[in-house]
């Protein structure tokens, strides 16, 4: 069975994201709901971003994707790496951070879904990752950290009855 009948709620997703942010970026209250940002794979220099995604295969099948504008990605990286604001973030480590963010949120979403299922290793891009065409958005969280957009999406295969 590969359906969207098992759904993550926005509250669940918000809790997972907030826990990661609270653990690593001190100003968790600064991660706030925001209007949807325009993310495009062909964005110009005005929207530099990092994206990470993990997929779940099994009884529930879907993908959990995170998109972070440059400022929010660097804030998370500085928190995870315990760097101060004057230190440069190595792009390789930034990629690692974005992958771990996707992995942690994705692993927690997977834990809410019926198993058995398998979590993939994270895929990271310095651009927006577009999901496979068969997956439909189930929950999307649009947030911002100090005006730098953060988006978290859960996408799933549609139910056969839908």
């Amino acid at each position: 069975m590969t359906t969207t009948e098992f759904a993550t709620t926005p509250e669940d997703l918000q809790m997972f994201v907030s826990e990661v942010w609270a653990n690593h970026v001190a100003q968790v209250d600064e991660l706030v709901p925001a209007p949807p940002h325009t993310w495009t794979a062909t964005a110009g220099p005005a929207v530099p971003c990092w994206s990470g995604a993990v997929s779940v295969t099994g009884r529930w099948q879907g993908m959990i994707a995170v998109d972070l504008a440059g400022g929010s990605a660097e804030a998370l990286a500085r928190g995870m790496l315990a760097l101060d604001e004057t230190e440069e973030v190595d792009p390789v480590e930034l990629s690692d951070v974005v992958g771990e963010f996707a992995n942690i949120v994705g692993g927690n979403v997977k834990s809410l879904m019926p198993g058995p299922s398998t979590l993939s290793l994270p895929l990271v891009a310095h651009n927006v990752l577009e999901p496979p065409s068969g997956l439909h958005p189930q929950v999307t969280l649009d947030l911002a950290w100090r005006d730098a957009p953060v988006r978290v999406r859960v996408l799933a295969l549609p139910s056969p009855t839908q």
Partner: protein
């Protein structure tokens, strides 16, 4: 004490080491592995007192590494540090012989609680 720490994310290995320190576990020798196969090799070569391992890793995942260790006769205390903390995963970990499973994101208190039952 000698601890093997397996995670394919270098950043996460740094976070675990920092959290161990915050939890009061200082002065230990940490041997880092990027996947399960490296962890198994380190256990066989270095005879550590504890293994902390991610579950989902390339080449050899954590549960396969644990099975390989138990099949080779190693009884080294083994704990998972993973983003997957469902009951199903915890049961699989316990059945394979893991001492505990710490779910990411974690706190120093989670390490204190998990390690308090071990002679570390």
């Amino acid at each position: 004490m000698k601890i093997v720490l397996a995670d394919d994310s270098r950043v996460m290995r740094q976070i675990v080491i920092r959290t161990l320190r915050q939890a009061g576990f200082t002065g230990h020798e940490i041997l880092e592995a990027e996947n399960g196969r490296e962890a198994v090799e380190l256990v066989q070569r270095e005879a550590p007192d504890l293994v902390l391992s991610d579950w989902n890793m390339p080449e050899m995942n954590g549960i396969d590494a644990l099975n390989a260790l138990r099949n080779s006769g190693s009884n080294v205390p083994f704990g998972f540090v993973t983003s997957e903390g469902s009951d199903e995963m915890r049961q699989r970990a316990t059945l394979a012989g893991a001492a505990f499973l710490i779910a990411k994101p974690f706190t120093p208190e989670a390490f204190q609680e998990a390690l308090s039952g071990l002679a570390v």
